[in-house]
């Protein structure tokens, strides 16, 4: 084995080993320190995230706890009556027929055309209705269209007056939209309803359900068990 000959004064030779040890310690301290520092930064950012998430969760829990389940169910029913979750042409037909009857106008023509079914917002159903009746009845029909379920918008209106009878041609847009299917993760903050939203919800609650859409559940009559002899 070959000896390494370091050209160093003899008196410094005993210092070589401790110096080496110090260098190794400093190097390892630097490496370990940097790693530990990185790890600490990571943990710190996790802590910040947890703190934010906990704040959101606490706010969400407190807000949800104050809401009444019954009230929310009622409001949800009102909101889905205004904009149904399904494209129901029968519902529209029944609704318009009922509105025409209650306004004392006669429907002479009725046609439906589906709108854009892939629309991301409310999907329209285009309805063409021709009615005839007195001017007062026609005005009452227009008014009832605006104040009944489901939400309808008159996009075009034309009327012809002859001998005190008004024939009106309406182009109406009714809307539907599927219910939201995904719910955000638990710690996502809630989008609270603003006061303007609450006002709109109250306005939707004031809309009337057309008469034919109000069902009365009949009590069963006759034999208790129809299959018994």
């Amino acid at each position: 084995m070959k000896n390494i000959n370091i050209n160093l004064p003899r008196k410094y030779k005993p210092l070589l080993f401790p110096l080496g040890v110090i260098v190794v310690i400093l190097a390892s301290t630097f490496t370990v320190g940097m790693t530990a520092f990185d790890k600490l930064q990571e943990v710190r950012s996790k802590i910040n995230n947890f703190e934010q998430s906990n704040r959101n969760l606490e706010e969400k829990r407190d807000y949800l706890a104050t809401l009444s389940q019954d009230e929310l169910s009622k409001q949800s029913e009102v909101a889905t009556s205004a904009i149904p979750a399904e494209e129901s042409t029968m519902l529209l037909l029944a609704s318009l027929k009922s509105l025409a009857n209650s306004s004392n106008v006669s429907v002479s023509d009725f046609n439906l055309a589906p709108g854009d079914r892939k629309a991301s917002s409310a999907r329209p159903i285009k309805i063409g209705v021709s009615i005839s009746g007195s001017l007062t009845s026609t005005l009452s029909f227009i008014d009832s269209l605006k104040s009944s379920y489901p939400l309808m918008r008159i996009s075009k209106l034309g009327f012809t007056v002859s001998q005190n009878k008004v024939r009106s041609d309406f182009s109406i847009d009714s809307y539907w939209s599927p219910l939201p299917t995904t719910i955000s993760s638990t710690d996502t903050p809630l989008q609270n309803l603003r006061s303007s939203d609450q006002q709109l919800l109250t306005r939707l609650g004031e809309l009337k359900k057309p008469a034919s859409l109000t069902y009365t559940v009949l009590q069963p009559q006759g034999r208790e068990n129809p299959f018994s002899y």
Binding site: Q69, I142, V161
Partner: protein
Amino acid sequence: MVQKKRINLLPKDVEYSEKLRFLKKTSFLVLGVYLFLLFALLGVTFYFFQTESKLASMNESLKQEVDQYRNKEGLLLTIADRVGLSKSIYGLSNTGSIEMVNDIMSLFPSGVEVASVGSKQSGSGIVVAGRTSSSTALKETLDRIKGKQFNEAWLQNFSLGEEGYNFSLDIR
């Protein structure tokens, strides 16, 4: 001036051992500082990990508490969705407002027969066609239109026929 000469009478080994002692002291000091920093780092790391684990368990229990209200959250989501959609529908202009129809009807005094009222394809403005045998009624109609706050009102297709004056109005 006489220059004094200093002579170190100590043996060379003593001077060397002095230097070694100094190095030893410095080494201990460095070691002390090093150990202090190491323990401080360990302490901070321990504190951070403890805090993280405490917050994580708190987060879990809060999530469970919020999950109990998942049904309410679903209903709230539905309501917010429908309210947003309703807002966009209400934001669209409504052609057939009862006020507008009443406004138009109030333009025509007795003696003017309204033949037809229709909204334009572009969605802005309406066209009213009418007839009257009385020029006074026609003048009153025009006066009433002037009194209303319409952006524009154009008298179009004005003609005098056998049954009187025929006209159509383009109101915006």
